[in-house]
Symmetry: C2
Subunit: 315 residues, 2 copies
């Protein structure tokens, strides 16, 4: 199995990307190989620094880089030899089983939509994120930013996509699905969230437990938190800032629950509802974050989550 | 000046209400009197426990109670001698300058809309909440739950209402207004948030600094955070749960920033855009929270914030 990494993506690339890839390669030895995609002149010397530890990594050349500030769609189309475009081509052609990048988020989404493409039947793919649970384990929240506006049918599908991920990758047998809302009663919320509630309630493919509130994000009510990409994005970034503030102040860092607030411990957000496994990492990704993103890519590929999603939406 | 309190509202009423009222009365001695509204048989013995400290409190009888679980509009109409209905009548008639309750939130909103009424020109009143800032001071976020769905013009007005509160009650001379969104660029977000951005940008009555993201809630970018009631409610409840988790774990309690996450330190959420000063407290309000809610009511009344809003929207 091969897991690809955009060696040029992220604020600290290519150094952090190469260092993270070497860390992941050690953990995946005998199970998967890491494919680094980027400018050989920049990447090779960094690999050489790692000596024997970097021997099993495969370097695939890509001459261009999509910068963080570039217009996603334009850059993706114009830079066909960028590390992101090359990565998606390898993913779509089956040369690699997963593609990870801490680069331009928008370009990663564009590539997912135009190169790998949505699974037939999926209205709109979503970006998922992971939520640490107070009593251990992880939940999944989606969408966290791909779709600012969500129709009820999209929210319903997010419940299905999240349930499949929770089941096949997180190993939760019967994941509980909650709809993020401003009140528990089913008549609460916007017209869209009320309609989504009704769709989720009668969907036989998932275990809907009803509306949940902001205070329920970290408790055990729901394993899968369904929300529109606007709300999910705001929530996610706020939670990240709380972790950053705690870290700056040196508060709570020894606590296992708050430790999982750290994006590094997960490393990236999968794009769910596309035909292959793609993960978007944080711009500020450290080697640890890159390593964990690659391990997550391996888990997704091993679980065949994209195939599970295709099989489910085919019927 | 008289500040009224629903003695029967909140999970720990009337005990917590009376205890909190006595605390506030001590701090407001010579400046304002506290009016307790509720069932005399329940309230009098509790006042007696405080002896001389409760002497200056005024008890106004109200025979009925709107329970936390009751249908707000129905209960408000049917229970005209409830503590909430009596409180709003006293507020509307000018017998008291502010009314505070930790009781049924929906009934408090209904009373605000039907007894005190929105300020002419205000499309929809909003519930505001306070946001502790990392470098000290407080910001204000609105709406946090009165309006799940918000038209651009409503969001624009929330910016104006929040600016007035920040200026006249929080003492921020030129409050910076930020629009909560999933990205900083002005084209980001839903159709409503994009349109609101354009309205806020050209509004001469406020200092709009553009979109802010979830990670900016606690930094100094904006003093006034504008958001729809859905997003604001989810954010607020999530933040409260983080504080509760930290408190349970005994983490960060000595830190002044995180101490302000505690709802008790503020005590309540004002309803802005109505003709008088009303504050909704948390259901679980302790005596400290009740006391701080009453002090906030006093500050609002002293600043004449409702009159400032009326004067602004008249023109």
């Amino acid at each position: 199995m091969k897991i690809a990494l955009d060696a040029m993506g992220g604020d600290f690339a290519p150094q952090a990307a190469v260092d993270g890839a070497v860390l992941a390669a050690a953990q995946l030895a005998g199970k998967a190989q890491i494919v680094l995609i980027g400018q050989p002149d920049a990447v090779r010397p960094l690999l050489a620094q790692h000596g024997a530890a970097a021997e099993d990594l495969i370097l695939v050349p890509a001459s261009q880089i999509i910068d963080m500030g570039e217009h996603p769609a334009k850059a993706y189309q114009q830079k066909q030899d960028s590390s992101i475009a090359v990565g998606y081509r390898m993913l779509a052609s089956g040369e690699v089983e997963a593609f990870c990048s801490a680069g331009n988020t928008g370009a990663m989404l564009v590539g997912a939509m135009f190169s790998v493409k949505p699974v037939p039947g999926v209205l709109r793919p979503a970006i998922a994120n992971f939520v640490p649970k107070l009593h251990g384990g992880m939940g999944i929240m989606l969408d966290v930013g791909a779709n600012a506006e969500c129709k009820p049918e999209m929210l319903e599908q997010f419940g299905e996509l999240g349930s499949l991920y929770a089941r096949y990758v997180l190993g939760i047998a019967e994941p509980k699905v909650g709809l993020m809302n401003l009140g528990e009663e089913e008549g609460k919320g916007t017209a869209n969230s009320q309609a989504a509630h009704q769709l989720l309630k009668v969907n036989p493919h998932l275990r809907f437990i009803g509306n949940i509130e902001g205070r329920d994000l970290f408790n055990d009510k729901a394993d899968v938190v369904v929300c529109d990409g606007f709300t999910g994005n705001v929530l996610l970034k706020m939670a990240e800032s709380v972790y950053d503030i705690m870290a700056d102040k040196g508060i709570g860092m020894g606590d296992p629950f708050f430790a999982h607030f750290n994006y590094e411990s997960i490393g990236g957000s999968p794009i769910l509802g596309i035909n292959d496994n793609a993960i978007i990492g944080h711009g500020v990704s450290t080697p640890t974050a890159i390593c964990n993103m690659l391990l997550q890519g391996y888990q997704m590929a091993s679980a065949g989550i994209a195939d599970q999603i295709k099989a489910t939406f085919k019927s």
